[in-house]
């Protein structure tokens, strides 16, 4: 499949090379290594393949989704995929040859600009693998800046992120992570202050809204962190920043996020978009690609990958990271999404999330069967305390066509009756009512 040369052309080429057969080109390979035919099933034609894959897609069961916990269902305007599926973007290589890659480069520059504007941060890179790996890189950078090997984490950090941090730094024993306790589902500020007083920590990682959906007193926390001489790394929800206070406004030194919510489908959790931003004084610690505006030889505006002296292809073992790619297409989706939404659309989508989640909370908590676990303010997600295990509810809900939420018992046995529920702007009033009525009937 997809091999273009005919047998006649292959023969002509062999003659030009001066060998008799293609086998002659493989003479360096020890005969004992040349395998029998690989054991693969009979090849499919495109038509047969399409039928098989469509059958597989149909085996997945679509549910009316009330789960978030890091991946969120949002409306994606058709123009987003129409643009990112263009071959000019989809089948281009990394823009190392800048003169032949101005489209990708300008799109990255605009992505960086949109993200900086949304986050109120100085610098964004061209994107990272996902939110969790972006956070890992920020922790590594903070440790290098402060020359300390301990990082304090919010206890309400997404557990997937915590697992990734542990994996990233376990082998080298480069970093130690400790957790700051919560009170009523948010950071216990007095305890935070006490922990940071030791001066041992390079940074504190704040999750806001946190994994339980609660909004944190970010400014007060930032003041505590900075007065203890540590750096603040904020992990945020980009959609929420349409209305919520920005990491830049409360002085975050690094702000990272899962950017899937910005125009990227849920896709079973990947590919997604790692957003990595920081204050400008830390630009040399940024991992991965950054695009800059420059001039060409004629003085015309042009775009180019820049500050490459940080990167692996130049610095090798002394690079800021080994990353050699970005999630360019996901970043393009985000850039197109943010351009379509504009400041007004971002406010409206954030407000629609707040409203739907609050309406659903009121519906669910109306008759005393369910309780809101944490009383504080929230964005589009909240924890519901149920009379029975959340896992049971999720199972029953799936039979009725709902994904009821995320079972917090997966990560904390004490929370096995707790369901993390999300309602984004995609939910209609009827869907909220139907779900609430299902929940009442359980």
């Amino acid at each position: 499949m997809f091999i273009s040369n005919t047998e006649k052309e292959k023969q002509e080429m062999l003659e030009a090379i001066g060998v008799k057969s293609i086998e002659d080109l493989f003479k360096d390979i020890d005969k004992s290594l040349l395998a029998e035919n690989i054991n693969l099933p009979a090849a499919l034609t495109e038509g047969e393949l399409a039928a098989e894959i469509k059958k597989k897609a149909a085996l997945n069961k679509g549910l009316i989704n009330f789960a978030g916990a890091g991946i969120y269902e949002h409306f994606i305007p058709a123009a987003v995929n129409a643009i990112s599926s263009r071959g000019e973007f989809l089948t281009a290589y990394t823009p190392y040859q800048a003169e032949a890659s101005q489209g990708t480069l300008q799109a990255i520059y605009e992505y960086q600009s949109c993200i900086c504007a949304l986050f109120d941060m100085d610098v964004s890179n061209a994107s990272h693998y996902d939110g969790a790996t972006a956070l890992a890189e920020a922790c590594g950078a903070a440790a290098r800046i402060k020359n300390k090997n301990k990082i304090l984490l919010s206890s309400a950090l997404n557990p997937e992120y915590k697992q990734v941090l542990d994996t990233y730094f376990k082998a080298g024993e480069a970093l130690k992570f400790e957790k700051a306790p919560l009170k009523e589902g948010v950071i216990d500020q007095a305890a935070l202050k006490e922990l940071l007083a030791s001066g041992e920590y390079a940074a504190f990682v704040l999750s806001n809204p946190n994994f339980y959906g609660c909004l944190e007193e970010a400014q007060a926390i930032s003041d505590i962190v900075h007065s203890a001489g540590a750096l603040l790394i904020a992990q945020v929800n980009p959609i929420s920043l349409g209305v919520l206070q920005t990491p830049g406004s409360y002085g975050a030194d690094f702000a990272v996020a899962e950017g899937q919510c910005l125009g990227n489908a849920m896709n079973f959790g990947g590919p997604t978009l790692g957003i990595f931003t920081c204050k400008k004084e830390y630009v040399r610690y940024v991992p991965g690609r950054i695009c800059g505006m420059a001039k060409d030889a004629a003085g015309k505006r042009a775009f180019v990958l820049t500050l490459q002296a940080r990167e692996q292809h130049i610095r090798r073992e002394r690079a800021s990271s080994n990353i050699c790619s970005n999630q360019a297409l996901c970043a393009l989706n985000a850039a197109v999404y943010l351009t379509l939404m504009g400041p007004l659309g971002m406010r409206e989508v954030a407000e629609a999330n707040i409203e739907n989640a609050h309406i659903l909370k009121d519906m669910l908590c109306s008759d005393g069967k369910y309780k809101l676990k944490f009383a504080g303010p929230f964005f589009n997600e909240f924890v519901l305390e149920c009379p029975i295990p959340a896992a049971k509810i999720i199972k029953a809900a799936a039979k009725k066509g709902f994904l009821a939420g995320y079972d917090l018992g997966r990560v904390d046995k004490n929370l096995k009756n707790c369901l993390l529920i999300c309602a984004t702007e995609t939910k209609t009033r009827k869907e909220l009512e139907d779900f609430a009525s299902f929940m009442r009937g359980i």
Partner: protein
């Protein structure tokens, strides 16, 4: 002036209150639900464009790009082969894209079966015992592999192994990966034939060696003839052998890496397995391991009990997770699709076609840009400039001239051991006519470099922009509006 669209930024085309999308508005403002201290004080500086403005803006941007669909991309080590269109459609089916990662396993049987199926295909191709599809890129796969090696040694209570041996021809990601995994990088010089020098290897192998990392074929496009001996020495020293699979396209269907003694490898699905590069990602760096390392793979693993696919999240020895969730699904589905269109006999033709094309270019250009190592190559050839013939020519100028002539440039100045390196990887999906045009373009560049080298410095002239001042871009970085 050329005919390319003017490159105003989206924000410069913006008009206050213009909008590109309508969202059903909430009945109440945020301030009615939340205390003002939680709210942002001013709106973000995002563009305000109509949907039409936005589509035109980005479509015009796309026209400033070279891409595989429009241009020949002989980028060495990058394997820019055709990305079949059917897979874009199939991986984009709503049944896959709208799936939440925390939906019950029963509701994700289609996706889970594809993950399992791709792992099975890769196991067959490599001879390795188990795979993870979690890593998001090649470098991410390397990191995963290095962590697995460290965990394995630690599990055997062999605590001192913290060195990774890497040849000087390696991609920059290899040493950067070793450093990220907390290991010391031990570089070894290649022999005069561009391959691993066994004596050099023997000198550095010691009880601290965790891993020997090799790209096979290596980055000068040559097969490691002594691979079996390398593997033997590595294992004898108690270390593991890692294969960077960036160049697997030369071997796919012909040689199983496990038969060479490879313990761990990653496969760049966006190279050999034909998924699109997307302008820099997303890719996928599937990692395969031999049997004794299977327990160390990241969680969750997809398992099949004969009836249903399940996610196994618990594994005592696992290194953990290298990213959230399970991998870059839309890439993985495309890779599954590609491999489903081959059988054992036709898969070999991929590697054979790639090697034939590379050697054809090498031989046809030998008089002008000779191969640095003058012998039969694998899937790519590394050419150089003969300074005796063209004393003033530079590789960067050759690259920029090619852009003007409608070809993407080869990989340049890499590997580092080759002066003025021009690394050409045509792949099997290009036909002879395209290669002949490329050869003739390179020939004319050679002639011009001899008679009028100054003209080369001025290239490119026909691209959307002329050569870019990278030095001042880095000195005074402008990274956002």
């Amino acid at each position: 002036m050329n005919n390319y669209p003017h490159n105003l930024l989206s924000i410069e085309k913006s008009s206050a209150l213009r909008r590109g999308v309508q969202i059903r508005k909430a009945g109440k403002r945020a301030g009615e639900y939340l205390d003002g201290k939680f709210l942002r004080s001013k709106p973000p500086l995002l563009p305000s464009l109509s949907e039409f403005d936005t589509v035109r803006h980005f479509t015009n941007l796309s026209r400033l790009n070279f891409c595989l669909d429009t241009h020949f991309y002989p980028l060495g080590s990058c394997t820019m082969k055709y990305n079949p269109k059917a897979y874009d459609v199939l991986s984009g089916l709503d049944g896959f894209t709208s799936l939440h990662p925390y939906c019950p396993e029963d509701c994700a049987q289609g996706t889970l079966s594809l993950i399992y199926g791709l792992e099975e295909q890769l196991k067959q191709i490599t001879g390795l015992a188990a795979f993870t599809l979690q890593p998001a890129a090649g470098a991410h796969g390397e990191f995963t592999g290095a962590l697995i090696a460290r965990a394995y040694h630690k599990d055997r209570k062999d605590f001192g192994r913290s060195e990774i041996v890497i040849p000087d021809t390696a991609h920059g990601t290899n040493p950067a990966t070793a450093a990220m995994a907390g290991c010391k990088v031990v570089n070894i010089k290649s022999g005069p034939d561009g391959r691993v020098d066994l004596e050099e290897l023997k000198k550095v192998l010691n009880p601290k060696t965790a891993l020997v990392m090799l790209t096979i074929p290596n980055t000068v496009g040559l097969f490691e003839k002594d691979i079996k001996e390398i593997a033997r020495l590595t294992h004898e020293a108690g270390a593991l052998l890692y294969m960077d699979g960036a160049n697997l396209n030369a071997l796919i269907g012909l040689v199983k890496p496990a038969d060479m003694g490879v313990d761990i490898m990653h496969i760049n699905l966006h190279k050999t397995i034909a998924t699109p590069h997307g302008g820099g990602g997303p890719g996928a760096g599937a990692v395969g391991v031999c049997g004794r390392l299977a327990d160390f793979l990241p969680v969750p693993r997809v398992i099949y009990n004969g009836k249903k696919y399940k996610l196994e999240t618990k594994s005592k020895k696992s290194i953990g997770k290298v990213k959230s969730f399970y991998g870059n699904m839309s890439v993985l589905i495309r890779a599954y699709c590609y491999l489903r269109q081959f059988d054992g006999a036709t898969l070999k033709e991929v590697a054979r076609g790639a090697v034939l094309n590379a050697n054809y270019v090498r031989v046809k250009l030998a008089k002008y840009f000779p191969a640095y190592f003058d012998e039969v190559c694998m899937h790519e050839c590394v050419l150089t400039i003969d300074k005796g013939v063209l004393p003033n020519a530079k590789t960067i100028d050759v690259a920029k001239m090619l852009l003007d002539m409608g070809f993407h440039a080869p990989t340049i100045y890499f590997p580092l051991i080759v002066p003025e390196a021009i690394m050409v990887e045509p792949t099997e999906t290009e036909n002879k006519q395209t290669l002949d045009k490329f050869i003739s373009a390179m020939t004319s560049i050679f002639l011009e470099a001899g008679t009028n080298p100054e003209a080369l410095h001025e290239a490119p002239k026909n691209c959307p922009v002329k050569r870019i001042d990278e030095v001042s871009a880095a000195r005074e970085p402008n990274l956002r509006w």
